[in-house]
Point group: C4
Chain length 263, copies 4
């Protein structure tokens, strides 16, 4: 039972003072990082040809470590009051967002042995990149940003809805304006959506652009409205940070009389 | 009279607790959403060929529902004290922004039977997309964003005017710089405006760009000034959100007498 | 003397209640606006061919009006205590930013009779567009934006300097990286500056882009640093607006005890 | 000893009232500025051909001045209590960020005499541009911006990490989507990173863009997420400026006892 408890302490995020847990955290983090690098570098043709075998070995080894870590977590979690129940506790742990990411980052390696179509796997393989997301767990300052997004969730969702609306209206508008002049590029409303996204986000690749007078006129208005796509979320998030800072300072205590200050 | 009152309650935005009204709202919302999807998908050639007939039937059915809803609203509105008068009340209802959008989203379907030129109709058809705008009515959080925009209306209008000025000045400047070198692309000031919009909004399609030294010099300055086109509205809107939040919190305490201030 | 005083009252910005002055302001404003439209439209070849003569007449007439207005202002200004002195007062008026713009917007029309080279004049002609700037005088809300920019002048200047530094460093860096691979496009540091501006402002026309590995690596870093070119001025201006709003509210009086609140 | 002390006073940033030090500062600043201009202009082929010799002389002279300044600083620094120790004080001075920049901006000139490969030197030469960074030392208002960045360091670093994560995920995703359709442009994940940077920063050169349906779909999502790359740092920096301003104003009053709070 002591081993199980110690395993859980080590495998979970380190508390200050626990040296073994900290070393474990840093090691796993480094391995995740190296693995991501390996996936990226392995996609280069010339690298694959020369070091393909070595990369495959490294891939297999790191998946092994990640599997052991995943199982160790599942095995030891019952010592935590949060996951005390043998079955239900483990299921609850397994369905934490981070655990799902962990599983998905290991699974694609084992699936080919199950006789699944390889082309489907090619899309699954990129899930390994999700291992990077694990890094997020080690940052506590993520909380402030998280808090700002959560407190402004409604406004940001609404802004997204307005953007979606603008996207649909602008795509329809430009389709009707440009379809006759450029039937191949502005072939349908969904095809025009690609143009709308590139314009509203101000990316502007230049593979699609209006050529008719009407099209250019409406495209200009859409491009200018696209400024709002930056101004609104930026303003909302900025105000959220100001608010979060003021809340933290709020409820100070007066150094003279010792009473609380309601901001 | 009871039926009329009940109809009005159902057709208008639901108050909490009224189940029939809520089901009606969600149904209409779903139908609007499906209809928008149908318009978008219907613009794809291959979809039109296969499911064109089905989409036309769905179009006709949904327009029927929207028409019934529109007429039901007009018929029942007299039970509301706001629109009590038989004629003037209905006219007032019909001229609410939302009612006009409702009507414009139905009308294009009936207009072809009036023998109007079809090409003109093609532009009108895209008005059906305005049905999407109806969705906005169901969001109450729209109010904060609305409030911020209204309280900052003057500054935002002024910023727009400054942008318009910058647009005209930059278009004229680039036209005089580039016209001699690229008479086909920078053919006139209005034609150069397309370049100015693409540059000031930082979209930059790449279909038009200066090639002369003078043109590149002024274009650089214009592109840098274009940053202000994002900084100014973003700053104004951000300050508006901060202000709106602080107003909500208001109720400070006077440092002299200790009583609450209703700001 | 009475006529001179009345002229000055009419010609200067209207005070509330003075009807003649207001009508004059609106008329001049409309004429300026129409004149700008005429300049823009006149640059279109087909319009110039058909209505060129009419546009020239309109041009001559509006310049006449603007000249009369300019001279009327110079003649009548001595009734204002600010410009009381016959000569020095008029000189001071003539050197107000707005007066210089007024003069520059008329002068190009008279200059051709002086036998000056016409090609030089073509650049001067675009100064007529400065008439648009006169519109700014009529907006009082311009003051808040002006105030924010003035109170943040130092920080914004510093940001501009940082941008300039980034521009020079990135241009030099990319020049050394890309010159060997693309000697025609990345031909010199000044030529590469055009790429830097397009990248740092995120316009990205696509007429110049790195192709070497080193070039793409540094260009990526530069493009990401370019985000700061939006974040810094936007943050500074946003904070300026928040500050301006709080200052306006500051120095309220407590409704209970009547004492001033230092915010 | 007096000469050494006076040298240090002159060579270091001027204190108000010391005229000689100020003249020295402005002279060095001007020379740095002229030198940067010379480097930029010297990269233009035609300028190099005509004034190449003169530029080389100017280069040699300015490097001489910068060397004398650098040595004077090293020699005289021992009069400052901060660098009192003969050897350790001088080493500490030499390792100040500004001193390293100073040295790196002189060194490339002397290195060719050491028989080092000239092609390697071509990359080193651009370090001369670092002289521009020296200008930063002369601005005291840099402090506010510095302070904002330092107080928000953690959040900005986290945002950078999120950007890095987004960069890796989006590159992998697009690589798997587009590699089959465009094996030459989307050849590997590192190659796709160039596309990701251009899209997330909304530069969008147009040299790489997805053509498959899947690729365009994910690219749209990535481009929209790219808005966050502007909204997050802008919001954080904006909040930092608001906070810095309020701290300056601080010194609120306790609502209970009326005494001042040093925040």
């Amino acid at each position: 039972m002591n081993i199980r408890k110690r395993t859980w302490e080590i495998v979970e995020a380190s508390t200050s003072g626990d040296r073994a847990s900290r070393i474990f955290d840093i090691s796993i983090l480094s391995l995740i990082f190296l693995n991501v690098i390996a996936v990226i570098i392995g996609s280069v043709q010339s690298v694959q040809e020369r070091w393909g075998a070595a990369l495959n070995v490294f891939e297999a080894l790191s998946v092994l470590v990640f599997t052991v870590e995943y199982l160790a977590r599942l095995w030891s979690c019952t010592t935590d009051p949060q996951f005390r129940s043998r079955f239900r506790g483990r299921v609850r742990l397994a369905f934490r967002a981070m655990s799902i990411i962990d599983l998905l980052s290991i699974l694609p390696f084992y699936l080919p042995f199950l006789g699944i179509d390889l082309r489907f796997l090619r899309v699954l393989r990129l899930l390994r990149i999700l291992r990077v997301a694990k890094v997020g767990r080690y940052y506590s300052s993520l909380n402030l940003i998280k808090h700002v997004f959560q407190s402004k969730k409604e406004e940001l969702l609404l802004t997204s809805a307005l953007m979606g609306l603008l996207l649909v209206v602008s795509s329809s508008l430009l389709y009707y304006c440009e379809n006759a002049a450029q039937p191949d590029t502005f072939s349908s409303i969904p095809a025009t959506m690609w143009w709308s996204v590139a314009t509203l986000t101000t990316v502007g690749y230049g593979d699609m652009y209006p050529i008719t007078l009407m099209g250019k006129f409406f495209a200009s208005i859409i491009a200018i409205l696209g400024i709002g796509m930056f101004a609104l979320p930026t303003g909302i998030i900025g105000a959220g940070f100001v608010e979060a800072i003021q809340k933290k300072k709020g409820q100070h205590v007066c150094p003279h009389c010792g009473k609380e200050l309601h901001q």
